[in-house]
Symmetry: C2
Subunit: 156 residues, 2 copies
């Protein structure tokens, strides 16, 4: 089953990168981590991509853009990008972890066709509200929602 990306890419406004940079800078300062060229390069690449990508693909596109960052460094920094709220893991049900950037995209959910692997993205205020209520029932403050809907596309 091949995985196709079909929608959801929104143009990267320069403001998104600036916001991400600012957020990351603050995060690093707060955690007493250094602001290195490699971390910036990774951030740039993450923000430049609007699709779902694996670590390997991120490594490739870094290389393709002349930024050499070792795989080890990439792995060592992914968690900080996640913690800073810039990067998120995506589970597309294919046993491979992929990533997507969060800033500059609204909250969205994944709808995955089990037949073709086609992936749609969309959001829903109603879903968010219902989730909010469910979480609150257990005394939880919602930070992030991951929702994957697996199904079959109906013939129209």
């Amino acid at each position: 089953m091949s995985i196709k990306k079909t929608s959801g890419a929104q143009p990267l406004k320069p403001a998104d990168f600036d916001e991400a940079l600012e957020r990351y800078r603050e995060y690093l300062k707060r955690k007493k981590l250094l602001f290195t060229r490699e971390r910036i390069a990774i951030l740039e690449e993450v923000m430049a991509r609007h699709d779902h990508f694996s670590v390997e693909e991120l490594h490739d596109s870094l290389k393709a853009n002349g930024k050499k960052v070792s795989r080890a460094t990439l792995y060592r920094n992914l968690d900080s990008l996640k913690e800073a709220g810039i990067l998120a893991e995506v589970d597309l049900g294919n046993r491979h972890i992929q990533y997507e950037h969060v800033l500059g995209h609204s909250q969205h959910f994944h709808i995955i066709c089990e037949e073709t692997g086609e992936i749609l993205e969309d959001d829903s205020v109603e879903v968010e509200k219902a989730v909010e209520i469910l979480a609150r029932k257990h005394g939880f403050e919602v930070a992030r929602i991951k929702l994957q809907i697996f199904g079959l596309r109906r013939r129209k």
Copy 2:
């Protein structure tokens, strides 16, 4: 961050195993796959566990119960259990894929505390309804919903 399981385990009614066995048998027949002792052993073990487990842990508990099934066979059969609707992958945000059985448990969602790793399970008809509507909007028939809510537990 340690991962604790805190709720959601429901006692395994023998009927659940019977139903799973029946379902798996039909699935195997439909796919013209053989009904082997190893597949049955894996099914038993999957249905006997009420927690989230990794492939390695499943392999361990099989061994502990005197059923020797090689890792290769385990991997080769996981997908069929998924396809048959007996097993599901669980994404708990820790970069490790885990599994849980589906039959005998109602549809449920995971609420994960980002601080302690505590995991709650619950369901919500409202969430299901909202998801249904979202999916239908795109011409999708919902087969399975995976929802993870990450957040912080509020002090009471």
